[in-house]
Symmetry: C2
Subunit: 283 residues, 2 copies
């Protein structure tokens, strides 16, 4: 039986920190503020927003919502975004992406002021991770992986870490962050040969391909920590599943994050932490 | 006996390309131009400059030199740099670093317009490599490694590549570039455990720690391609040496770059290629 690396307890600890810091900032007359940009009423957006609402309220930070109709002209959207960039009272900006097709995602990501890019999506934020320099913020999911390891005292220093997936949202940034923490990182992807053999030698295995239940017994070893970043709806099992075939892998490894209840439990807390950090930096 | 991956033949092929492209650009009335910024008369700077002079002449590109006394005020230096940034007739800017201590290297690197950053030293250039997007240019040494593999038809796709070293000049960018080319990349560094064992399993081993002759027989295998990025002066042997203990390793591997005469033979050609590419992009 593996130790379950549950996310909630990590989130609770982070939120405790967040509340304290917000109280301190408020004493100085500062109120960390997040601006949310949403177009339309997509279920996934509304569900994420609900989570953020709750955490924002818990932490005592302020939310400003910019909500637009599906047919909002791009100029109008960009002009509001520009306003939020310039507003010294706003410390973080989150745009629910993907936006409708008429928006150029690359242009949009880079319109957000890096110092307010609390979900770490623009080029300079990503550059900061590569360079190991505070240019913006890390993508929240990548940061969540680091926070879980940190909370459970699994020090990546000197460990062999295998990352499955090289996306800009998680695989690449988490690889760099772990290398910066002195892990020896191997980045695997769809073209990797013998991926099972490589993965099975890892001390820490980060699963971030988005391929549901693809990581099975062949990828793991009994001393391994498995961090499952995936989250997909399994039609057959009628429940959320990760990239790991949990019931097969869990008995074979040392530590594993559950899905749901693992990495995903942290992302909105991390977002809030970034808003608070941005407010501190701006003070 | 390993195949020697000599740099000169690769450089010659690149220069042939460069000459053709410059001729085409000149027919359109464009002349690729590189601005060099140098403070003082350091031997290493002068030697690199001499190499660039020769290659620039061969390719038919124009050089503009900004040479300053050791005691140039920082404002004067920055103001000239700003001028070069804004001058549409200048396509590439190379600053011989490190500058004297009163200059902030980080600030300096990022003052160069990314579109003219032909040695890939500023944050956005590095971000471009991480994101796999043409924001600036790759560091010339990292690009040299890729060109050598390419010339000798050693396709990194699906190969296990081990990179020794994680510097921003070579280790990190070359890791990302090779991952973008579909290699499975492991980034090793001073904190890596069992580095010899990890290296010995690589199909391609990139040696970029700067630790002279540190890579010995324990790091290699008979099917391995070894790329040696190091270049140090060996006092005992009274000659230039790489990171690889050449006489021991060479008989044991499939391919190896010599030092000198390997990676280092390409860097000034790559610099010229970047200036030409920048001129093409600006047209």
């Amino acid at each position: 039986m593996a130790r379950l690396l549950k996310g909630k307890i990590v989130a609770d600890a982070l939120m405790e920190e967040n509340r304290k810091t917000v109280a301190e900032l408020k004493e100085k007359g500062l109120c960390p503020t997040l601006a949310i940009f949403r177009i339309g009423e997509k279920d996934s957006d509304l569900s994420y927003e609900k989570g953020i609402n709750k955490k924002a309220e818990e932490a005592g930070i302020r939310l400003v919502k910019y909500v637009f109709d599906e047919d909002v002209p791009t100029e109008e959207f960009y002009s509001k975004l520009d306003q939020a960039n310039k507003d010294p009272g706003i410390h973080g900006i989150l745009v629910f992406r993907p936006l409708p097709d008429r928006f150029n995602d690359d242009e949009l990501r880079n319109m957000i002021d890096p110092s307010k890019d609390v979900d770490g999506c623009n080029d300079l934020s990503l550059a900061g991770i590569f360079i190991n320099k505070n240019l913006g913020f890390a993508p929240c999911t990548a940061q969540s992986v680091i926070e879980i390891l940190n909370y459970y005292k699994i020090d990546p220093k000197g460990k062999n870490v295998v990352v499955l997936g090289r996306s800009l949202v998680i695989g690449k940034p988490v690889s760099m962050m772990l290398s910066n923490l002195n892990a020896t990182v191997t980045i695997c992807h769809s073209r990797t040969r013998d991926v099972e053999k490589i993965a099975a030698k890892a001390d820490i295995l980060i699963c971030a391909t988005g391929m549901m239940e693809s990581v099975n017994r062949n990828y793991v070893n009994e001393n391994q920590t498995v961090i499952d970043v995936g989250i997909s709806w399994n039609e057959n099992k009628n429940k959320l599943c990760g990239d790991v075939l949990f019931e097969e892998v869990e008995p074979l490894v040392k530590d594993i994050t559950p899905v749901p209840g693992g990495v995903g439990s942290l992302t909105s807390c991390i977002l809030i932490s970034h808003v608070i950090e941005s407010c501190k930096r701006s003070a």
